[in-house]
């Protein structure tokens, strides 16, 4: 797979995170915990965390071991440790990812969470709801922006050397 970056006007990642925080805030309870999905979702969750409630427990989830394309592509991606420094059992989990597209990553994330315990509730917040090729009955509860792109393109969240987050349109070939 080769990717080339092209210029395109996409919303700013920070503005989307601010909007998400405003939308999420009324629904938070004492039982809510924040879980970012590696890698883009972890970056987004790190930004959201102080905007929502800096005292709220938060963790990160790597879904490599739960992916459904292991047979096709193996375990090539860098596996990051999962850190969930709280009981999952009975919690109200706010799962954060950068881009919701096919829904397969979210399926894997839910399976992973259930191996830690039975959450009371899982809700999903995404910066971008990329419409067009949803393959599972999965929808986000909080969406920064809903977009569609041609089938040969995808949107990635990028973190620069300076730590700034930005969205990039990427060609898949």
């Amino acid at each position: 797979m080769t990717m080339s970056f092209i210029n395109h006007s996409l919303p700013g990642a920070d503005a989307l995170i601010d909007q998400l925080a405003v939308a999420i805030r009324p629904s938070l309870t004492d039982n809510t915990v924040l879980v970012g999905m590696h890698t883009g979702g972890v970056w987004a969750a790190e930004r959201l965390h102080p905007l929502l409630n800096a005292a709220m427990p938060h963790g990160s989830l790597d879904i490599s071991f739960y992916r459904d394309d292991f047979e096709q592509i193996g375990l090539h991606a860098q596996v990051k440790p999962t850190r969930l420094p709280f009981e999952v059992e009975g919690r109200d989990i706010l799962l954060v990812d950068d881009v919701l597209y096919t829904g397969r990553s979210v399926r894997a994330a839910m399976n992973a969470l259930f191996d830690y315990g039975r959450p009371a509730k899982i809700r999903l917040a995404v910066l971008i709801d990329l419409v067009g090729d949803r393959q599972l009955p999965i929808a986000a509860d909080f969406v920064g922006a809903a977009l569609s792109v041609p089938s040969h393109q995808h949107i990635h969240l990028i973190r620069g050397e300076d730590g700034n987050l930005s969205l990039k349109l990427v060609d898949i070939s």
Binding site: S64, F65, G74, L75, V79, R83, D115, Y116
Partner: protein, 316 residues
């Protein structure tokens, strides 16, 4: 890179037979992947679905409890089906050849063989023989290699010391007969440990051991000075009969790791042992059970490393 039977044409790992000749990137990838598996032990359900439906055969032609058990646990935590075969007790005693045994198991739709054999090169022979979709992991062959033990030792060192590039590591004991020591030395030098020492009586060192990139010491007081990691090897009792050593007591006097000898190493040095331990022969109980000992964490990390190896192989 020269031809390596463990690697696919694209450089990815197909079998794990020996650490010798593997590039640092592959070792680091295995350790990083193992790091990810450590947290599975904290899960309520200590299992991930990666190898669901795969059949992994543990072929142990030589007795082993710890290694076989940790391979079995690792495979089960990856959701594979595990079949343990203690071959010395079955077909081989009826005269079946090693490769006939392997062919029969392959006909039972095996996806991976984990092989322990007293003959050096047994796992290589099986790896050369099997169909392309079957993966082989060497779980110890003769005096040659025990790569997953070497890797779990590296994971343990990295967990306690963080980096490899500033370490001094001493391996103490029967290097001559030890496949573990060979794998450790290859792993340590590949990962960039600047100073690897072996400490042993001359009779327990292979000739030309210096060519493996190690410094040789015959004396514990000198050899342990400024060491960050002390790896004690098991002294196999049967060596005593071969007249390589006068007695276990004599060995303990000069090379057994006691608190006094450990005090020559750095104050924060860790003590490792691949097991099974002979207390009072190569290691004193005070040290084995002391606060510098990481012998039991080694066993725990062994599961994560074996999960990493099996899942990386199965996906390549």
């Amino acid at each position: 890179m020269s031809f390596n039977p463990q690697l696919n044409a694209d450089g990815s790992l197909r079998h794990l037979l020996t650490i010798d000749g593997l590039p640092r990137a592959i070792l680091t990838h295995i350790l990083d992947t193992a790091d990810g598996f450590i947290t599975i032990n904290e899960q309520e359900v200590k299992k991930v679905p990666l190898l669901r439906g795969k059949a992994i055969f543990n072929l142990f032609f030589e007795p082993s409890t710890r290694t076989r058990t940790t391979f079995e646990i690792a495979a089960k935590r990856l959701s594979a089906d595990v079949i343990n075969l203690n071959i010395s007790a079955s077909s081989q005693s009826k005269g079946e050849t090693l490769l006939d045994t392997v062919d029969n198991l392959a006909a039972m739709q095996a996806d991976m063989f984990v092989v322990r054999h007293a003959q050096s090169g047994a796992a290589h022979m099986i790896a050369r023989h099997v169909a392309p979709h079957i993966h082989v992991v060497n779980a110890g062959d003769g005096r040659h290699a025990h790569p997953t033990q070497g890797l779990l030792d590296m994971l343990t060192i990295r967990k306690y010391k963080g980096e490899f590039h500033n370490l001094c590591v001493a391996i103490v004991g029967d290097v001559l007969h030890s496949r573990v020591a060979r794998s450790q030395i290859h792993a340590l030098t590949t990962l960039g440990v600047p100073e690897v020492r072996v400490i042993a009586p001359k009779t327990l060192l292979p000739t030309g051991v210096e060519q493996m990139g190690v410094q040789v010491y015959y004396d514990m007081a000198l050899g342990l000075r400024n060491v960050d990691v002390v790896i004690i090897l098991r002294l196999q009792n049967e060596r005593m009969r071969g007249a390589l050593l006068p007695s276990a007591q004599e060995y303990f006097k000069y090379y057994g790791l006691t608190p006094e000898k450990l005090s020559y190493a750095r104050a924060d040095a860790i003590v490792m042992h691949p097991g099974p331990m002979n207390r009072g022969v190569e290691i004193d109980s005070t040290v084995a059970d002391g606060k510098q000992s990481v012998i039991l964490p080694q066993v725990t990390y062994g599961i994560a490393v074996r999960m990493a190896v099996m899942s990386l192989l199965a996906g390549n």
